[in-house]
């Protein structure tokens, strides 16, 4: 066990990202940078995604993770970081959004 793993908590998101990377997998990190209204997770919340779509952490408690993973897989290929915006979802629309009425920006980057 590395020193990092022994002193940060077992479910530490960045430790997991680093472990995946050391296993030779491609990894992306998503971070909530701004929230408006009743967003489910505060700024600073993080999600790590590997090349197979496995994830640890959360940026919205489940509302937009699916869309973030799709974008993350693209960013793993392109290497270009990107800021995603998610707004209020409408029950009658088939779009990705936050049912709680908030709005969030999520920065997604590849771990090089």
């Amino acid at each position: 066990m590395t020193e990092t793993a022994s002193t940060l908590s077992d479910d530490d998101i960045l430790s997991q990202a680093l472990n995946w990377k050391k296993d030779g997998r491609s990894v992306a990190l998503a971070t909530v940078i701004n929230t408006w209204g009743s967003a489910p997770r505060p700024a600073g919340s993080q999600l790590a995604i590997d090349e197979t779509g496995q994830m640890v952490g959360s940026v919205s408690g489940g509302c937009v993770e699916g869309a973030v993973i799709q974008e993350a897989l693209e960013i793993i290929k392109s290497g270009e970081p990107k800021t995603l915006e998610f707004g209020v979802s409408n029950d009658e629309a088939w779009e990705v959004g936050l049912a709680c009425g908030g709005k969030i920006n999520v920065f997604v980057e590849k771990l090089d």
């Binding site: 020193e3 990092t4 940060l8 960045l14 990202a17 971070t31 800021t83 980057e109 771990l111 090089d112």
Partner: protein, 229 residues
Amino acid sequence: MKTALLEELQQARVEKRQVVLATNLTSGNQKLLYPFESEDNSDLAEAARNALRYDKPATFESENGTVFLNIFNPPLRLFIVGAVHIAQALVPMAAGADYEVTVIDPRRSFGSSFRFPNVTLDNRWPDEALEELNPDRRTAIVTLTHDAKLDDPALQHALKSDAFYVGALGSGRTHTKRQQRLLKVGFTEEDFARIHGPIGLDIGAKSPAEIAISIMAEITAVLRQKEIT
């Protein structure tokens, strides 16, 4: 993010340093800032300091675009000197508020795992224990023994530390006597003013649990820099 930078960030977190990851959202360029370890008084360093202080990430408008400041504060810690009745009520409340709690009392009949089953106990003399526990900016220290022989060495150590909160149980009269003793050994009025005493917000607390609530509320207000009138 560069893997080497992430490794450095994780190492800083292990070392319990207050660190900020600054990300330019346009270019993706990143660097780590340790604003409390430098005299840098740039707007960026100041914004990073405030983000750490308020325990809240922030954005900063630089000439090269928006910079996101993600914060990595070490865990909050609470050192309780005096394994007394109020401490028994305070321990679970502080743990629930995400503090790593240590109870310090050299009197083994007080500081026993029978009385405190789920918390780290330290049976050393308070100044010796605090020396090693090394209180930092994310640490609160409370003295609850009512006994100057135990409280005073702890307070003397606390006042030399960066602890964000120092509180001492005892009446106004006790607090005045405490002031005389501490000034006599060389502390200034300004040093002494750091001690919250009588401890806790004035909510009319009577029972140990109520007093623990008032202490926890005061610690929270100081941590979040909320003026209580």
